[in-house]
């Protein structure tokens, strides 16, 4: 792996981590209104996948949205301000944590309804196919989403019409408190793709390099017209499901075991193997810390929307 690329991806992972830690602090300090779902522990997935995407490629995302947004190139200022419900946010403070989008970055939106982003992503892929573009759509969703009908209908549609989309299932073991193994008989989630005769892979979602390499291959194939591909990325979320989660459904030991395989720590080891020094990593981390601090300042200083804005953006005007 190219060292600059590796450092960029490292920066992305620590940026997401630092961002989410700031969101957690701000949430605990009640600096903003509404719940949040943190991506801490899963950073390698969005980072390794989105590294292959340009602004002309699309993603759709979930309630656990911040990591995807940042990895897709959204400005941390705008993401933080959106979480704070401010006018400077990517959606002018109307969306909040679960509804982040940026049409300029190819981000078609994160979604508060489990699996609802999946058919939408397939529709974007139809547009790309019709327009004969070599762009792709990446659709992120959790393990819990595979039990929604929307997921199955969308998988089938993508498959029968051979659309340019990559389904990235982030299997973090739980949907809220529910163990995925209690709500599916599948041994491996990737097997669900067989019903659609769709190529599928499983990857260690805490191993950035593995995610990067697999995505590289898969995304190039999809760009060349292979049709849809399903990737199960096995990972773990460290924080509770949302702000109010007491985490009675999992053991401390389980959390600790996963933290031993922290995606950032694992990648730091790799980077050190490639000759990157502790100092270099520290520099990146402090730069990122600064970005996030600035994002917090930006969000706090960003204006509240005016009350008139309650009624704007309801209907779109056609512009030809």
């Amino acid at each position: 792996m190219d060292i600059n690329l590796a450092l960029n991806m490292y920066e992305m992972m620590v940026k997401i981590r630092a961002f989410e830690e700031e969101v957690m602090r701000s949430s605990e300090a009640k600096l903003f209104h509404g719940t949040t779902h943190l991506y801490i522990g899963q950073e390698a997935v969005a980072t390794g996948v989105c590294a292959h995407l340009s602004d002309e490629d699309y993603i759709t995302s979930t309630h656990r949205s911040h990591g995807h947004a940042i990895a897709k190139g959204l400005d941390v200022d705008k993401v933080m301000a959106e979480i704070f419900g401010k006018r400077g946010g990517s959606c002018k403070g109307k969306g909040g944590s679960m509804h982040i989008a940026d049409s300029k970055r190819g981000h078609l939106g994160s979604n508060g309804v489990v699996a609802a982003n999946i058919p939408i992503a397939v529709g974007a892929a139809l547009t790309l196919k019709l327009e004969e573009k070599s762009n792709v759509v990446v659709c992120f969703f959790g393990d819990g989403a595979i039990n929604e009908g929307a997921f199955h209908e969308a998988m089938n549609l993508a498959a029968i019409w051979s659309l340019p989309i990559i389904f990235v299932c982030e299997n973090n073991g739980y949907g809220m408190s529910t163990k995925i193994s209690d709500v599916t008989n599948l041994e491996q989630l990737k097997e669900v793709a067989k019903s659609y005769n769709m190529t599928s892979y499983a990857v260690d979602g805490n191993d950035l390099e593995a995610v990067y390499v697999l995505s590289d291959q898969v995304i190039s194939e999809v760009r060349e017209g292979s049709g849809p591909v399903f990737i199960e990325s096995r990972t773990y979320r460290y924080a509770g499901h949302s702000r109010s989660d007491q985490q009675v459904y999992r053991s401390k030991d389980e959390v600790i075991a996963w933290k031993d395989r922290d995606p950032i720590a694992l990648f730091e080891e790799k980077l050190q193997g490639l000759g990157v020094s502790q100092i270099d990593l520290l520099k990146i981390r402090s730069k990122v810390k600064e970005n996030v601090d600035q994002a917090l300042v930006f969000a706090m200083n960003s204006e509240e929307p005016s009350l008139e804005e309650l009624k704007t953006d309801l209907y779109a005007e056609r512009v030809d």
Binding site: C91, S103, W161, L314
Partner: protein, 326 residues
Amino acid sequence: MKKRKLTYREAIRECLFEQLNKDKKVILLGEDIGLYGGAHRVTEGLLEQFGSKRIYDTPISELGFVGMAVGAAMTGLRPIVDIQFSDFLTLPMDQIVNQAAKVHYMYGGQLSVPLVIRTPSGAGTGAASQHSQSLEAWFAHVPGLKVVQPSNAYDAKGLLHEAVEDENPVIFFEHKLLYNQASHVPNTYYKIPFGQANVLQEGDDVTVVATGVMVSRVLEAAKELSSYISVEVIDPRTLVPLDMATIIKSVEKTGKLIVVHEAVERYGIGAEIVSQVVERAFDALTCAPLRLAGEAVPIPNNKELERFAIPQVGAIVEAIKSIHTI
């Protein structure tokens, strides 16, 4: 010069043809809309004319393909979706209500969803409770959607053109009993703007607001009474936006209002129209407004019961007479 007549079905088909011809971004998605021509034969011939990159025969996956249409619309296409019976809107409800209706607003105006969902509603075919409902009130209640209900072939073509060129999700309620009704339809492209009620007949005594298939029944009733009651008949054409100005102007003249619709009366669209009239023209009303609408029952299969569940001409005549004599 003889005016060309088309059926409601043909008028819609002609509009689809014109749109497909005019704008490459327009695509059609739905079950059996290709070779079969749609469950109600509306799309006959379009697959042959435009091919399978424009006309998509979908699997039976309403939630999936409506969701696809939302995503396609967000990225530049202008999909027109066909749902075989409006009762099946229950299935893609999430994509319509939580996605299509909200995308523009919740993402701060960055993205839009120029999507039309065409679907026939209404009873009268003996298909019973799961194929006969009129559910427009649900959608009219949801901010971000527009809701259209053409009552004749001319309106159907003009309103559908407007719907397809609108930048927002539009639920376009056709009516099964109208598909074979013919009326004059220009063979040129024309649009009817949303939010412009149609005054089908002017009158001084009673204002009757009617939607969908009820419009022609009200006209029939009005004709029957024409020797001694002068009825003004108004078809709002679109429920969102709703042209209250025309309705209120009429009530200010007549002082009497009846709203007639097929959907269940309880918590139906008539209540909104009555309420707005009362709120905005209370002093003009000379008596309580009246609603005449569907009974609060599922539509039964038996033909007589089915008729009885829904306003017929006789009941409309009685209602007009009763309010006229107050």
